[in-house]
Amino acid sequence: MHELSIALNIVDGVLEELERQGSGQVETVHVRVGRLSGVDKDALAFSYEVACEGTALEKSRLIIEDVDVAIFCPICGGERPTREFPFLTCAECGASAERIVHGKELEITAMEMVT
């Protein structure tokens, strides 16, 4: 389970951003987690609470947004969803992906402050 490492990285990242903002208390942290990121959502939610203990984020909430897989299809010539997870085949024409466009995301997108 590497979700604890991921959670600790979220906490460090948010604390750094918070410092940049000046001050304030964080109520909610928004993250995006791709289906191909290899990170389990439940394990991350649990780990986040542990990672926040004793920090300025102690009472904050983590909102996890799933990101579905999207590929670049060389036949359709554009971004397409895939037919069936975890296969990287175009949902429309069945061709193999040229590359993954979405689904590997692991990012902090926003934080909400206590007003």
Partner: protein
């Protein structure tokens, strides 16, 4: 609401990028091995170190939660080997690699192998600055491993099927495995070896010493190993 847009693994990615630049400047080709526990990473590495050492200056880092058993095995090859014991951590990260290289002169190394902790999930998120990542699947595992652990396959560059000498005994079906690999990672190159009999080893070694441009699979670049944005 304050917009942030920040990669969660930003720090690891930055360290990995620095490592990659350092390896490149030193002319060291860095190859990492990932697989589940017991797929034959150490046995294969023992063989590669022994063979490649005849012509190249090679070294290895080997990660495990505990024990120095793997390092002890690999040292028999005569190559410099360092064990990274991670304690409770289930993967290597760029800072562990950086730390363990502190007293090694990279200029002296032509090849550096990094054996990750045996785990098909966790190592996939962490870029180590390597040039090439090999994912090993043994013939004693199920052919559906790529479907169960797609992320490790699409963060690796090449798949190596190990324990070829046991394929018949286990009823291993190569075609099914190959189909599953290309399903989750179109275009991925697959090599087959037996570290015990030596079958396929020479081909793998030729492949590893070939020019970078020859073995790079252009489909999924290093930049895509971890999530966007940078």
């Amino acid at each position: 609401m304050v917009e942030v847009r920040r990669n969660i693994l930003k720090e690891n990615d930055l360290r990995a990028r620095h490592l990659r630049e350092r390896f490149h400047a030193a002319g060291t080709r860095v190859i990492s091995l990932v697989s589940g526990p017991g797929s034959g990473k150490t046995t294969l590495l023992e063989r590669l170190l022994t063979d490649l050492r005849r012509e190249y200056r090679v070294a290895a880092l080997v990660g495990d939660l505990a024990t120095e058993n793997d390092a002890r095995r690999l040292v028999r090859s005569g190559a410099p080997v360092k064990q990274i014991t991670t304690g409770t951590v289930c993967h290597l990260d760029a800072s562990m690699v950086e730390k363990s290289l502190a007293d090694w002169n990279m200029q002296e190394l032509q090849f550096l192998f990094i054996e990750n902790v045996g785990n098909l999930v966790c190592p996939s998120s962490f870029d180590l600055g390597e040039e090439l990542r090999l994912v090993l699947v043994s013939t004693t595992e199920g052919e559906d491993k790529p479907l169960k652990y797609p992320t490790i396959f699409n963060t690796a560059d090449v798949a190596v099927v190990t324990k070829l000498d046991l394929a018949e005994a286990t009823g291993f079906d190569f075609e099914t495995l190959a189909k599953n690999i290309s399903g989750v990672r179109p275009g991925m190159r697959i090599l087959k070896v037996s570290s015990r009999t030596g079958e396929g080893i020479e081909e793998l070694e030729r492949f590893l010493v070939a020019r970078q441009s020859d073995f790079k699979v252009p489909l999924f670049s290093k930049a895509e190993r971890s999530g966007a944005p940078k």
